[in-house]
């Protein structure tokens, strides 16, 4: 006897299967260009940062197509975000973000100035986990509110690396491949294309040129810098790895000495990861807005969290709680009014939600 709900289940599963194949996310593409500075130091630093960034990925985490982590083999034309954008959006590269910078020898160590550039190609991805969208039933029908991530460029405080932290190879290609994560013997060297299977702090299981083995990695610094944590957090956010993003942005916020813009954006991204992970980012958005009441981006997220709150109560059919959330939205709209143009459509649509 076939249960009544069976055809529905089959249909649902077939539909999910079809959706997965047609609307699957394209791989996130990350570029680590050659660092600006004297060769071969600039290449060694690029390779070290490259392997540190790989730790932002877990081999099996979110159901998307993984990522391509590309390393540039040519120096940037100049140390500017425009030059990086040109290199990252070059048609054979098409990177969604680039982590780059300058490297200088300093006493026994190396000073690295890291920067992060998000490219316009991010907005062309078919599946964009970082986009925050909330749908509400209104008198005018279902309304969808969207909010995109704020930043395009980030500059971090200089990072001092000791000599041991720098990978001893100019390119990832040629690095030794071992049979075991610890101990074991060398079974070959890295080829041009490497596929990651397991990622740990001290080693990465990879396949290259038909061989599978371990590459041993070190931590870039004794304590993870906010530049690395932030970049990893961004990669994780863009892949929909909410837990990983929460961890990374929380780590950035543990440092009390970071610049205000970085603190505000880390709070916003942490709040976004919380919201996307099924929780509330309200506290983080309020804290970000509290740091600078003239920050329009923080105001956007604060208001959006109110819309998300209304949507949550609407789904739960909690009419009284929904009314209270609408009143809170009205109060926040009034407080942030000065930051928006009177013809700002997004703000006006939100204002229309208040009875």
């Amino acid at each position: 006897m076939v249960p009544d709900k069976l055809p529905k289940t089959i249909l649902l599963l077939m539909l999910s299967l079809l959706l997965t194949t047609t609307v699957a996310a394209e791989p996130l593409r990350v570029l680590v260009p050659e660092f600006i500075g004297k060769e071969p130091l600039s290449q060694h630093v690029r390779t070290s940062v490259y392997f540190e960034l790989i730790k932002a990925f877990r081999a099996v985490d979110t159901p998307d197509k993984g990522a391509w982590i590309l390393y540039g083999q040519q120096p940037l034309e100049q140390a500017s975000h425009d030059a990086v954008l040109a290199a990252a959006t070059w048609p054979s590269v098409r990177a969604d973000l680039a982590v780059w910078g300058k490297a200088h020898q300093y006493a026994d160590g190396v000073v690295v100035q890291l920067q992060l550039t998000l490219t316009p190609l991010l907005k062309k991805r078919q599946v964009r986990p970082e986009l925050w969208a909330v749908s509400l039933n209104t008198k005018a029908g279902v309304q969808r509110f969207e909010l995109d991530i704020p930043g395009q460029f980030y500059e971090f405080e200089p990072l001092l690396l000791n000599r041991e932290a720098i990978v001893g190879f100019q390119d990832p290609q040629g690095m030794p491949l071992y049979s075991k994560r610890k101990g074991g013997s060398q079974i070959g060297r890295l080829g041009e294309v490497i596929r990651f299977y397991e990622i740990h702090e001290d080693g990465v299981l990879i396949a290259t040129d038909g061989k599978k083995g371990w590459v041993r990695t070190r931590s870039l610094a004794d304590r993870e810098s906010e530049a690395i944590s932030f970049s990893k957090g961004m990669v994780r956010l863009l892949r929909g790895d909410w837990r990983g993003a929460q961890r990374s942005f929380s780590q950035v916020l543990e440092n009390s000495a970071i610049p205000q813009k970085l603190r505000i954006h880390s709070l916003l991204y942490l709040g976004l990861a919380n919201e996307k992970g099924g929780g509330s980012g309200r506290q983080e958005f309020a804290a970000a807005y509290g740091l600078n009441r003239l920050d329009r981006t923080a105001a956007h997220y604060l208001l959006m969290s109110r819309v998300a709150e209304i949507a949550r109560y609407q789904r739960q059919n909690k009419t009284a709680a929904m009314r209270q959330a609408q009143q809170r939205l009205a109060a926040d709209l009034a407080a942030t009014r000065i930051l928006f143009d009177k013809n700002d459509q997004w703000y006006r649509r939100l204002a229309a939600l208040v009875p």
Binding site: I10, L13, T21, A24, V93, D171, E192, V193
Partner: protein, 123 residues
Amino acid sequence: MLKLALRMTSLLLLLLLLLPFMASAGAPAGHLESLDTEVREAIIQNLAAEGYMARFPNGQDVQRGVSAYLWDSRQWLKEVRFNNARQVDVLVCLMIKKGYGGFAYYEENQSFIDWCGKMVEQP
């Protein structure tokens, strides 16, 4: 029971379907294997159309086809010394100049078109 079995089978199918896409990979920027599937397919098809042995199961053989094609087309190259990472770019540039399709990203990028003009003569 039947419903549960069906659900488990579908989940397994879904997992198997997703597995090839889950792994992440690394390569030098511009490497043939890291290109969008459509661009790589266009390169393979065009190489095959010109009689190059390009359609092999692994990427290295396609790479050989690319090198062979560039060598045979060297009379059209204004600049023959270029970084390995630029091989695919030069190949695509040649193919665009020969009128092959499938390279919309490249044709829309003015910097690439300018660079292509400096690298390759009109065949």
